[in-house]
């Protein structure tokens, strides 16, 4: 099996016809419309279009970029906006791993959003918030890696 082309989410094309992905597209457009001004629904069409071209991961990233650009203009707050966009990632997780894992991911996103709000309130600087949250994710990623070595018996001790 050859390595796939160097794009972030080429497998997303296969998910366009899937129910969860369509639901994510619907949630994004409607959600943006409800969160902001009616024009926000049009912004929601950007990630939907990228979903068709590049898959859910690129759709999510494009949605973030759109929010960075015109989020404030169309009246979408950062936290609800990102949670709505995360529906693309929830959809693809649901497709690949099932409902339980998708639920875990949704919980993780909601928890991260909550921590973001709390950390922002405490430190009042985005740099500290970013360092704390991303540092926590890196630490947990390393923990999972060690746990994997342990469960597969790959540790010497």
């Amino acid at each position: 099996m050859g390595e796939t082309p160097l794009v972030v989410a080429p497998w997303g094309r296969d998910l366009i016809g899937s129910g969860p992905s369509l639901a994510a597209a619907f949630v994004t457009v409607i959600g943006f419309g409800l969160l902001g001004m009616p024009a926000a629904a049009v912004v929601g069409l950007v990630p939907v279009a990228v979903l068709v071209i590049g898959g859910p991961l690129l759709a999510f990233v494009s949605g973030i970029i759109a929010l960075v650009g015109v989020g404030e203009v169309v009246g979408i707050s950062p936290v609800p906006g990102v949670v709505v966009l995360a529906s693309f990632l929830i959809a693809t997780t649901y497709d690949e791993h099932g409902r339980r894992t998708a639920g875990i991911y949704l919980s993780a996103v909601v928890a991260a959003a909550g921590m973001f709000v709390v950390t922002q309130a405490v430190f009042d600087t985005l740099t500290a918030t970013a360092t704390l949250l991303i540092g926590g994710i890196v630490f947990m990623g390393y923990g999972i890696h060690r746990y994997e070595l342990l469960t597969l018996g790959l540790l010497d001790e």
Binding site: L57, I64, V68, P78, E96, V109, F116, G141, E148
Partner: protein
Amino acid sequence: MRPTPRFLHAIGTGVVLAGVGVLAVAPVAVLGSVALGCWLLVEQFTAVREFRQATNRLDIEITPLRNAAIVDESLSVTVDATLTSPVDSTVDIVVPLPPSAEHDGSIPTLTLYPGETTASRTFSCSFPVAGEFAFPAATVTLRNCRETVTETVPYDPDQRLRIDPRRPRNLHIGQGGERIDAYGEHPAGSGASGLVPEEIRQYVTGDALSQIDWKATARMQSPHIREFETETSRETVIAIDHRHTMDQGPAGQTMLDYAREVALGYARAAESFDDPLGLYAIGDGGITARRRPTGSSQGYRHIRNALHDLKPTQSAGTVTGSTTDRLSRPQAAWSVARELSNDDSAFGQAVAPFLADTEAYVHRVDSDPLFQSIQRLLTETSGEVWLILLTTDTGRNRLRDIASLVASEGGNLSLFLTPQVLFDTGAMDDLTAAYERYAAFESFRRTVARNPRTDVYEVGPGDRLDALLAARRRSRQ
């Protein structure tokens, strides 16, 4: 866990988002980066679950067509990979061969794609050297369903393979031309169990039919069985002679090859009876390999490997030097001793006692590496050792001495001799002379066998011996 380019691209995207968010003070970008990070964590977590599932369900079997082959023989090996139920991961299996194996083409690999449960591959390999080889651990590479991370785990197939050297054919073990069934009519290790024939007795109800000795039955006119000695509490020591004198005969069928075959048969039999087994290999310079009696499977394996590795040693040269020659004659030694007794020099006083108190014969015997080694063996092994000595019939006086020595020490001796007449090139040209040589050997064999607790057997190519005996019968008619 190793990230694939996909995983790294996702990480890169998250890092860019975080960077843009911090620099542009855009909380939505930082939060997007965090959401992406959470997604990667979930990917990692599900990959761990998938990998654990796959390793628990995976079974790899490496099945050679035979568990034993001979050197340079092409051997077909089948690798079967089985999952008890389908998994989401892709499983790549690389089966490395033992270092000494030769194999045409690339290293065998198998792939189980998601949903598949079996994969199989057959390949051929050969081994240029003899010994026991274990297949190294297979390398199993797991890729999660989204191919974001991979992991490599070893899988020990626990498969061993024995490669034997080219074996002599028509192995004959017997007494006076009559074959003994212990390891006579079949290659060592593949025959019936039993260490050494003990006695022939009349058949009684309940005895196994396979135990009937048909030759004895024919002689006695009633069914007789041959019983085999299978004592397990006694230490057995194989002493195999691999001096240059054992290098007679065509390649692959030398005296040493025949002796090795018998020794391997005993090694396998001892293992099957859990008898402690030791090994002494004796070359021209004395003991070359020593394995103390052991009952462990690893010990048996070491002994078999040591037997496979034996090669005839180089002659140490004839014992030269006028002094040695002179001292080998008792009268000359005493003469020198007398001369030295009048020598007041430090040299004379130091050497004289050795000559005065020692007989030359003893010197000569002691200088024989076989005798010397057996002496040492008896010293090093405790109790009533059962010695299986495999050698040739050169140096018959030494062999008589060895048999007497073992008997005097209370040991049991099974002496396997490779008669020179059966290995000499051209000996069969004159069958009458050859038979006379064989008769002389047989007479010697019986003489040695008179020692207490001593059995003496002949070992050699059965076809040559049969030809010799058949020619004798024809000449009598």
